[in-house]
Symmetry: C2
Amino acid sequence: MDTPADSSDVRRRNLALVLRHIAAHGPCARTELAAATGLVSASITALAAELIGSGLVREAGLASSGSRGRPRKLLELRAGRVQTVAVEVMPDRLAGAVCDLSGTVTWRGERVLAAPGDPRPVAEQIAGLVQEALEATATPGRTQVHTARLVLAVPGAVIEDDLIADSILLGWRRIDLAALVRAALPAGSCPVSVVNEANMAAFAEYHALASRTGTAPRAFAYLRVGPGIGGGLVVDGQIQTGGHGMAGEFGHIPVAFDGPACKCGDHGCLVTYLGLEALMRAAGLDPDLHDQDPERARADFDRRLRAGDPGPARALEAGARALATALTAVSRVADPEQVVLGGHLAAWSDWLVPTVLRHFAGRRAITPTDEPVLSTELLGRHATIVGALRHGCETVFNDPASVPSLTRP
Amino acid sequence: MDTPADSSDVRRRNLALVLRHIAAHGPCARTELAAATGLVSASITALAAELIGSGLVREAGLASSGSRGRPRKLLELRAGRVQTVAVEVMPDRLAGAVCDLSGTVTWRGERVLAAPGDPRPVAEQIAGLVQEALEATATPGRTQVHTARLVLAVPGAVIEDDLIADSILLGWRRIDLAALVRAALPAGSCPVSVVNEANMAAFAEYHALASRTGTAPRAFAYLRVGPGIGGGLVVDGQIQTGGHGMAGEFGHIPVAFDGPACKCGDHGCLVTYLGLEALMRAAGLDPDLHDQDPERARADFDRRLRAGDPGPARALEAGARALATALTAVSRVADPEQVVLGGHLAAWSDWLVPTVLRHFAGRRAITPTDEPVLSTELLGRHATIVGALRHGCETVFNDPASVPSLTRP
DNA sequence: CTATTTACTTCAAGCCTTGAGTTATTACGC
DNA sequence: GCGTAATAACTCAAGGCTTGAAGTAAATAG
């Protein structure tokens, strides 16, 4: 913000503009790029030359448009030129993935954590998984691949740019995971970022929704209760982290100050109404099952719900009121245009959303139409890692010049 | 976001950097500017020359630093070169003010609205007040004054850049106030912006706090219940408006889904616990007094509170629980580092804040230290117009080149 | 009075975008 | 088959910007 600008910033921005257009709209000619970006064709020539030089883009044949005139030379993204590695750090295991610039996942891997509590061994296992990923995706003889970034998605608050402040789930406090992983990787490896996992899921859902509808909402919220509780806020395409890396923790929005006690120490959090354990209790099912085997508990609840058992339906009906309240709070604070529900909120949205909308409708007559549009997640379980990968790719989309020139074409 | 950049953007940014530094740190020499901005001294020479040319800055004598060497030529903000006009539109009256670039208010004026409901007459009366302001501040013979912007602060949601979507208080729906005022002003007048009034108060409090503490919080929230209910969210120095211009409406955060009915059509909004009428009712005072004379009601409540009457204290004690819940919701969504209370929340903060903090402390042992720092407003009643003026000045600080060169020195 | 130190300015160089003019490559009309 | 029009892309000088080096200005210390 307070650094001076020079012509390299201009170049960075315009390269990004061109690269983004090619990535988003598929192969296109320089003329189209000029029209779409507002740059003059001479500039496109220069920018395209640089992108071709760094291998991010390639000329992919001609497109005779039927009409007369010189045919267009199409510029195509060389997605394989860049890859991003993401690792999702869970309490008991790691999940890793690699994708190229197009977002195509080229590798997936998992690893059960040997010493979950201890940050240093975890960092070493992360580094090991990353090495495995890089070896698996290295194809000798193929184009040189530039690894843009390693993104570590953790369930915890991340502050001060990539320092994990706290993670209850992992039992960590002020752990600089990025530094630990950097130390465990060979020198000269790619840059490392640490981000919140639910925020990445939100980021992924945001982009999935944007590409489905064709327009990106200015303010967007993702709220997940299910395997993992959390969410994220995206404003103008940027993940909002807040002052302590805790923005978007929608699961712990209090919906009643005299509500049930929550594990977080507060009372009446949304999860105390919509968490699976709470739902089971409200449905008259045995909540102990949840502790023993959450997945079976979920399946059991789901089966009974779909079978027409009134207990689960009643539980969701009550939960929907809490959800409506929480979503109202989100609207009052951040006013998203669109809210996406995830986890079992998405799975059981047929029972939840109508009640929520009814609640909204009750007041829409008086207040302005400021309710968010509700929908359910598009990516589900993979959202976190997809978002983390996408987040890593943003590095390149924001600054294409960070990719070095190809030494040999 | 998707427009190309060229060297004029570089110039804009660097001019802004220099002007901001001079404005924030008082008269300073080119060498200091070079050190502070990171620009090279040759660039500072050129940038300063442009700022001097447009009259935003002037050379103000030498500063012999005591040590040897050529003395520094100080550059000083010429605050009077630019002025900003702001009008706060209230249901029954207008309040206007003019300030210069330093934020010094050079004129204040009021006008009782003749036809409050009707947008066009209101726009004409706004234009009249603005004309009055411009005539009152015009000093023939003095430096040419550039009027950078007219900012209209309204109690309502503002979307699509300066179109008022809805204002319940004014009874307006989708009124393009900026266009109406532009039409009522002489051709070639300054640009007109429409903004939410509580957001501007938040903006003012944000800057007041930042200049008092020396550092600006990354995420900041202002919450006012008093004469006018509302607030605002400032992230990285930017007012957050949300998708429908409704971000920061903290007064209508629901704190209990089965709480009292609110005028907004919802139940359990924060104002149903901390609005003055609710407080009076909870204190066992006659709530009808509030309708008749809110100011007297407030004074009455205040007197009894300070006299040790247990009723008002009890009402605030209960309200504080609601406030703690609402602030928790704000933290979960936006995670501000700092929250400023305004209106009677500020006046009675001695009764509210300890209870709120006690509530926070009850869970701090378990969750990370993500609670916002609480404080009370620094500007009070004038915050809205001060914020609106400041917002107008941002036009110039963001783009000093928008100020034309002086025709005569 | 000179040397030194510090502040500021000047100027050529390097990037970047732009606009005009040039070249490349096709289809259409005859 | 050939000239012409049309479209795409490239080349190049010009202009704006920052920069680094060299030069000038103006004080103090000895």
